[in-house]
Symmetry: C2
Subunit: 336 residues, 2 copies
């Protein structure tokens, strides 16, 4: 049963369905334009824990628990978990998902991890390897600043090209039937490096990868911008969005009328001081859960190309003068 | 086409084949008992680079290049790469595999990553998502010490329970037919936490997870130790091996006559001063490539259960007083 499509894509012969979802976010995200749409908004960014990493684990736990409730199936029906976060050695995820007792595939694709997790969770159901799977990702502003940048107490200034890491976790339960959104295909991205070295301009680092994946997606499926109601990237922000639109024009595709970016949607540019927008594995995951899936469920959008984007670097690679390559994965979501 | 088996396992209806492999190791590994069996032994642990992380990337590049040559297929026939390493944000892998231009799923399962990568690469071929996939993992003694422990120049003493991170990378090309070893099934592991907090005793941290996965594997497939020529864990070392054998006896399984551990096989205990044995994603991967697959290929072993093991922690989680949970994935390898 060949399910390949073009060079990098998969077209599912039996498209898996997203049957449950949840988004758990922090205070700042709750004050943003999508505030009322999230499943849980915590006023305590420590989520009752004593450090940021444990807080992030707690968010994941709450997101997966409520997504499973939303799916209305017993927890032990979920055969495999796909999940990850931004922290070294994925500690938010390994400690966050431990108590579920469900076999786990740990994933790292920087902020694209939500796409990677959904792709593999969908492949697993569509391949007959499970009746139900789940995908969970998270990021936390404070644990990410500690991991990648400066201690919060240092109060460093941020350039206008910098994004603000979203405190949030999104979880998704996939099954063979049910719900009103299905995953009909995926385009897996490759590491794309334009040599950008500015870790305070992630949008510029990731835009080439998202262009590569979107253009490849169109070619693999013989489609174009008109085939989608929306084409929604993960966290390019304002800077990366402009670069993406320009790069895709050079490839012959004008997606300007269809493009949205989760990093742009999640914060209010005028009042929230988040500069270029939101970012993090939790950004695309919570916006998918709170904004994109509801629009698809209601049939307001019929078909969306969801493209989480990631910037591949660590404090070590940055300090050693390496560039910041990007990666992006495309997920086709359809109303059904 | 239901391919599930028991609670956590998959039995492939069309088992994918391992059609190419390669192992690239450093000087110390070349001086060990498997020295002559590795594909490439470098006398320069920097692999011509100027830092340990780039050296590790270079090892991965060489391992994948030579594995693809061994498979005898053009590079662009490989549809998806599955790979990871021990470093924060997987920098060894993202920079190491970038130049191949092949879509990539980044994975983190600590030292179990080789099992995670083989499982997903096999699922992808068996699910009709690709004709060819590849799995690549690595570790490097010096980059791991820098990441997890002390600067090398500090010259810290190591307790006898500590393992020595293998400098090595193993790569595997999977396809629908060819070669003489196939992957007939997998058992995906879950995070297992016995509360051990000693990061200098990884064997004790990982033994409960390997016990859980092996016992679950036997139950899922209705098998026992007698069904395998060898049951080979990743990097429990001498300390972890003893714990595993005892834990499995309590579960009703005596695997003492069948058990081997890659961490025990790779170094000479008497002369190489590696204490409890070898460890790292590169340990199980290079021993699989250099020792296990050749024995299966020749038919000396007919059926092997390969169980890479990982300890889930980071310097941050360790410093915050968290335990070190483990995870292990089981891969059935058969001569054909």
């Amino acid at each position: 049963m060949d399910q390949t499509q073009g060079r990098q894509s998969i077209c599912f012969q039996r498209a898996p369905h997203i049957i449950g979802t949840s988004s758990v976010v922090g205070k700042k995200e709750g004050e943003g334009p999508l505030g009322s749409a999230f499943s849980v908004v915590s006023q305590d960014d420590l989520f009752g824990e004593d450090c940021w990493e444990k807080a992030e684990s707690e968010m994941q736990k709450e997101a997966l628990t409520t997504a499973i409730e939303d799916a209305g199936i017993p927890k032990d029906q979920i055969r495999y978990l796909y999940g990850g976060d931004l922290l070294g050695q994925l500690i938010a995820t390994s400690f966050g998902l431990e108590s579920f007792g469900i076999p786990w595939f740990g994933l790292y694709g920087a902020c694209s991890t939500c796409g990677e997790a959904l792709a593999l969770a969908a492949m697993t159901v569509a391949g007959g390897y499970a009746d139900y799977t789940a995908a969970v990702t998270s990021s936390h502003f404070a644990s990410a600043e500690k991991q990648f940048r400066f201690p919060l107490a240092y109060g460093n200034q941020r350039p206008l090209s910098a994004t603000w890491t979203v405190t949030g976790s999104g979880a998704f339960v996939l099954g063979k039937t049910g719900g009103h959104v299905r995953v009909t295909g995926i385009t897996v991205g490759k590491v794309t490096d334009f040599g950008v070295q500015d870790a305070m301009n992630m949008g510029a680092c990731m835009a080439p990868a998202s262009c590569d994946t979107i253009a490849r997606h169109f070619r693999d499926f013989g489609r174009g911008p008109l085939d989608y109601d929306k084409i929604i990237t993960g966290d390019l922000g304002y800077v990366g969005q402009e670069i993406l639109l320009n790069l895709l024009k050079k490839e012959g595709y004008d997606i300007s009328q269809k493009h949205m970016d989760c990093g742009i949607e999640i914060y209010d540019r005028e009042t929230q001081d988040t500069h270029a927008g939101g970012s993090g594995c939790g950004c695309s995951a919570t916006v998918l859960s709170a904004l994109i899936l509801p629009n698809l469920r209601k049939g307001i959008w019929k078909q969306v190309l969801f493209v989480p984007t990631g910037a591949l670097m660590s404090p070590v690679s940055f300090n050693e003068g390496q560039s910041v390559p990007g990666i992006a994965h495309g997920i086709i979501l359809e109303h059904c």
